[in-house]
Symmetry: D3
Subunit: 135 residues, 6 copies
């Protein structure tokens, strides 16, 4: 078994806000992220798949298919979007780095021919990232 | 004369939209950036100052004063903000990388003790940046 | 379960020297690192915690608490210090990248509210790093 | 147990081509990589070893021995070479990122004194890498 | 006046060889680069243009036009190619980092609407790059 | 004319301290850097030379000669050293990033065959660097 990882990028806006709480409570828990005008990031995504190396091609996964799946399932939906306002899974779920990693896993699972999705890593900034492995 | 450069970062939202144009014209010129829900970036800022090295301290500029000026004049105003909606200079001016570099120059000019502001570089993404030198 | 990683940095001096050995033996084993005047590095630290995502906040860990724990337990003690001379755990233990990772684990264990410490990675330079997972 | 990772780099040419297939089939499967004049990359290699920290030296592995093994077994053979034409293991095996990781594992296994080879990671480009752990 | 820089990447093979010299002389001058099977790199290209900021759009240059010019004039010709064998300007000129920078300048000059080409920077590796400004 | 830049790295210790001042004054001006046990950095050095491209070799400078000059004149003297205690030019001059850039310029000037030294850039950390051009 071998792992293959491909990176991709998207730029998006988000904010953290709990409708049930007061403005003060939101500010206390979420700090500057509670600004409802939104702020944004250049997110970096690492998608890792696992599998056997095909004896003829030398590939675990067709790179073009992997790239296309990431583009179609994730980047085309998240890039240059406001995650809270435009991406369905974040209407009722906070678009934290953790939840974005889980959401991308769910979007990609079963969409990559031949190989098994192994890990999704999302960088919100170069010094903060989340990993999800589906369990 | 020697140059000293300090980097800083801020995360912000923006969009490109010309009120005078139709939605079609905005989409044609600005592409995905015309989405009025906004999208965002991790901006990286490089502030370069020029001057003589002080014979006693070995400094062109007091690093703490430089850091404080960048924090006070730029980061505290831009970070976790929606540039179009919350930063005055972008109410009527498009917050492009070019215009952000010019705006930061104007905010910092004359605010750094002892050294002369030499160049402002702004990265919108790792593969796109603008330089402004005040002229 | 999800993993969340936060990076931090500190700059410090160190040297490698075994009091029991001759100068020749120290030079043979530790090479340039045996220089007792010390040399230094910009260390990069990655602290990974594991846990469930809180359904309300979307967080595995309160980022501010994580950042504060790293600052208080590690950065305030190691940054701009000579590790051999000023940090207690390196009085009798060589401050190698491996041992620094173990020492940081011990400093952070039990100090991060809610989440479980999962891994400590320390880069001495961009091309050399150690990982410790507590076992 | 602790992990220690050392990076190294080599620049090499390669192409993907299956002699059994037609030119059309090679182009369909391998795209631009099927150009038989070859193209090239700056590969980055991460070699991770596992072991106990030596109580006296503080090392999992003698860094000089690790560096020398990577240089002798891998870099001196791959660097500034055409992988298909000059490296024996790629005469009959496609030099994909996956297969290069496996080949480097086989070259290094048993050649690093004291520590156990734990993982080989190969970056073909900053946004594409493969991991092999020997099983 | 403001500068705007856009990065792009291409992967290519090359070698250094002077037909007039003996193999010994080529090896003496060009070292490992004289291997005629070729070796390769992930080149990074920075294209800088200069101009006034358009008062309406906030742009020095239409980013899509800049990106398209780089793609059409450079990347589509150099990427996944053997520079000596497949790119006309390197049939009789050594594809050194310096000469590649000059060649890219000549390919791009006059092809970028509105702005003036200001500088071409080419990285052969992260620790080696050349700058050409047309004079 | 073309510019060619080569990077190198060295790890060293330093501190900032003015013998004429009290401990309080040193702490006030130099902050954490006034710790006389020293602290350290992974310095990155960029040496830029200028010249015409040789019509036969395609080089502005012989890369091996450039690398050797940087190694001999700078890295072998600074790497794994305590700058204040072991490098002559910093006995009486503060080893700030600015002064290190000037000192490296003086060490390299006239030592690089064929090309002209154009600029020395020194990074003390990724977010702080100084440029010196000899005037």
């Amino acid at each position: 078994m071998i792992l293959l990882t491909r990176k991709a990028e998207f730029s998006a806006s988000h904010y953290y806000w709990n409708e049930v709480w007061s403005a003060e409570e939101n500010a206390r828990v979420f700090g500057k992220c509670a600004n409802r005008n939104g702020h944004g990031h250049n997110y970096t995504l690492e998608v890792t798949v696992a599998g056997d190396v095909d004896a003829v091609t030398g590939f675990v996964v067709d790179l073009k298919q992997l790239k296309d799946a990431i583009e179609k399932e994730v980047v085309s939906v998240y890039d240059h979007r406001h995650l809270n306002l435009e991406v369905p899974e974040f209407r009722a779920t906070m678009p934290t780095t953790e939840n974005i990693a889980v959401a991308i896993w769910r979007r990609l699972e079963g969409k990559i021919p031949r190989a098994k999705l192994y890990r999704v890593r999302v960088y919100e900034m170069p010094d903060l990232f989340a990993d999800y492995t589906g369990a």
